[in-house]
């Protein structure tokens, strides 16, 4: 009798322990599921928030405001020269890109002359991607200042002044708006309150971003990218190296038998007659 009783008691205790162990395992599993669920929920919430927030923060690919006189389906392109010139020179360049500075120092006088002779219609795309790789914001502020100059009808002169005074790639001088405003004083009629406000308020920041996003989606990967009637000519056109003389030769060849455009047009001040003075601050060779 007592023997049986003891046995029953022991069995009961064992059952209880088993039950307790099972309960503990269940609760542990449940805890783990809850923690795992919480972790995945945090991750999912973060990603969804990120996509929504960044989508709102990103500047539209079609700008809400563009500088006066820009062309193209989204007004992302700054044209210089006569619209009826027989050849189109397309230039993608970043205000901070040293290779662009070298290109400009070597070619801007020639390009200005070709424009003034009605031989080419230059289409500028103001890329601003050096800021991504090198600390600073001079690509974006410089591009905005160029857009402001376009808006004021002085793009070409300011563009030439800017590249002649380009700082080292690692120096972010163009990120300093007062530097840009000082350089603008070298261009007759540009140093106005409107222009100053436009530079200071980064008025065309959204447009600059749209131009960059357009470049991001293009097949071009570096600056300067230079096309003559759609064909890449920098650093070489086929086997021939680009030089000012070769550029003139290629343009004349492309224009052969065609009516030249209106000379010295587009409301831009004419090119300086002497070749532009050499750089104050030549940059070292670029990649």
């Amino acid at each position: 009798m007592s023997e049986k009783n003891r046995e029953e008691k022991r069995a009961a205790r064992e059952r209880m322990l088993e039950q307790r162990a099972a309960d503990e395992a269940t609760s542990k599993r449940r805890k783990k599921l809850i923690v795992g669920g919480a972790v995945l929920a945090v991750i999912a919430a973060a990603v969804i928030t990120g996509v929504v927030v960044q989508n709102q923060r990103s500047k539209p690919e079609t700008p809400t405001a563009a500088p006066a006189g820009t062309i193209g389906d989204k007004n992302l392109v700054i044209p210089v020269g006569a619209g009826n010139a027989p050849s189109v020179l397309t230039v993608y360049e970043d205000p901070r890109c040293p290779a662009c500075g070298m290109f400009e120092r070597e070619f801007s006088a020639t390009i200005d002359q070709l424009e003034d002779a009605g031989k080419i219609y230059t289409n500028y795309h103001l890329v601003s991607f050096i800021d991504r790789a090198v600390p600073g914001k001079g690509s974006k502020t410089g591009a905005n200042a160029l857009a402001c100059a376009q808006d004021a009808g002085h793009f070409r002169d300011f563009h030439d002044v800017l590249y002649r005074n380009q700082p080292d790639e690692t120096s972010d001088a163009f990120g300093d708006k007062s530097v840009l405003l000082n350089l603008a004083k070298q261009v007759n009629g540009l140093d106005t309150p409107e222009f100053q406000a436009c530079v200071k308020d980064n008025k065309f920041g959204g447009w600059v971003s749209a131009v960059q996003q357009d470049f991001d989606k293009s097949s071009y990967k570096s600056t300067p990218t230079v096309l003559l009637n759609g064909q890449p000519i920098y650093p070489k056109n086929g086997d021939e190296e680009i030089t000012p003389a070769n550029l003139v030769k290629w343009v004349d060849a492309a224009n052969q038998g065609k009516q030249l455009g209106t000379a010295g047009s587009h409301g831009q001040t004419p090119a300086p007659t002497s070749t532009a003075s050499e750089a104050n601050n030549p940059s070292p060779a670029a990649g």
């Binding site: 923690v35 919480a38 973060a46 990120g50 996509v51 989508n55 990103s58 500047k59 790789a133 991001d216």
Partner: protein
């Protein structure tokens, strides 16, 4: 993301495996916080310019254009979420598993760019996009990510760490 959640080792751990030495939980804490710093830094560096983040993704030429922006926009926040979870130490093994998967994806992406001969910056800590062929650093980038992968591996192996929400919940 399923794999690491099942934890066959841990069920039997208290009985079978000898408990990990106490110092390993301190090592685990350092590893956990180290990986948190990596993700936090990587995430923050990619947030300021959404277009830049999208271009870093686009430059790999792997994803279709429709996925470029969602990935570029969402990835930094995924990294920040992992950093946050590692700092508080919640679900360490699962977070380490997700971290390892993400790092393997990055390594595969960089390796693929290298193998295809395109010239990009990995954009691991901001930046990204095309660079001059002479400026690619694929080997360094892969070695660095492999180092981070070792941190995640440690936490997969020894998810119990000091001063963690997991430890607090297990009490």
């Amino acid at each position: 993301m399923a794999g690491p959640e099942a934890q066959p080792g841990e069920e039997s751990a208290p009985r079978a495996a000898p408990a990990a030495p106490a110092w390993s939980e301190w090592v685990g804490l350092v590893v956990r916080l180290g990986l948190a710093v990596v993700w936090g830094w990587a995430g923050l560096a990619k947030i300021s310019d959404p277009a830049e983040a999208a271009q870093a993704v686009r430059a790999y030429e792997i994803l279709p254009e429709g996925l470029v922006k969602p990935v570029g926009y969402g990835l930094p926040f995924l990294e920040l979420a992992l950093a946050l979870l590692l700092v508080i130490g919640l679900g360490v093994r699962l977070v380490a598993g997700v971290s390892a998967l993400l790092l393997l994806t990055f390594i595969a992406g960089i390796g693929s760019a290298w193998a295809r001969g395109i010239s990009i910056d990995c954009g691991c800590f901001g930046g990204g996009g095309h660079v001059d062929a002479s400026q690619t650093e694929y080997l360094q980038e892969i070695l660095r990510d492999t180092g981070f992968l070792l941190l995640a591996g440690w936490l997969l192996w020894r998810p119990r760490t000091r001063l963690s929400a997991d430890g607090w919940l297990a009490r």
